[in-house]
């Protein structure tokens, strides 16, 4: 999965039926420190996330189909599967100083 921050959402009326009634959010991949890394992309929300939330995004179709249970013809690849409360990561900062990144 990818750690991402929700930037906002996309509104589209003309769309594939599977996307009907789904929230399509814009997610920005981030490092544990919170630093943005890589291009933003889109994910269907399955965790009631909102702008500014840090989320877990799964980008694998088979997993998506098992979660959404909408049959086999589901052209969805990325799904928000959780809202992150805390990330604790040991950061390699050279031998002398070993710090932990506590990202809120």
């Amino acid at each position: 999965m990818k750690l991402c921050r929700v930037l906002g959402n996309v509104v589209a009326t003309a769309k594939h039926p599977v996307y009907e009634g789904q929230r399509l959010l814009i997610v920005q991949p981030i490092e544990p420190s919170g630093e943005a890394k890589g291009a933003s992309f889109l994910a269907v929300d399955w965790a009631q996330a909102g702008p500014g939330d840090r989320v877990l995004v799964m980008s694998e179709g088979n997993g998506v189909r098992q979660v959404v249970q909408m049959g086999s013809q589901v052209p969805v690849r990325s799904l928000i599967v959780g809202i992150v409360d805390e990330v604790d990561v040991e950061v390699e900062r050279g031998e002398a100083e070993r710090g932990e990144v506590k990202a809120r």
Binding site: L7, G8, V10, A14, H16, S40, A43, G52, V64
Partner: protein, 95 residues
């Protein structure tokens, strides 16, 4: 899934089975800030998009699932025409 802008069309008369009668459009993948994220690609259209439309796409194997016929050899499919992009939590330009 990702955003994109339709910039043209492709016509290919000699192509794999399953691709007949399916519109092929040239798309520039974009981020939410409208910046290109990589080179252009060719995608199948499932929502009657046209040149100039702001769209969103699904890639990889899931693109084939956007078409009725089962398993057409495609890895990018336009599955929505974007009316609006709201990114209130974006601070400053794309990284």
């Amino acid at each position: 899934m990702y955003l994109g802008r339709v910039i043209g069309t492709v016509v290919a008369s000699n192509k794999c089975e399953g691709l007949e009668g399916i519109k092929l459009l040239v798309v520039q993948p974009l981020d939410d800030d409208g910046q290109p994220t990589r080179g252009t690609e060719v995608a199948v259209d499932t929502v009657r998009a046209g040149t100039g439309d702001h769209v969103y796409l699904v890639g990889s194997r899931e693109a084939a699932l956007a078409l009725e016929e089962s398993f057409v050899p495609v890895d990018a499919a336009i599955v929505g025409i974007v009316d609006q992009v709201d990114a209130p939590a974006r601070k400053g330009p794309a990284p």
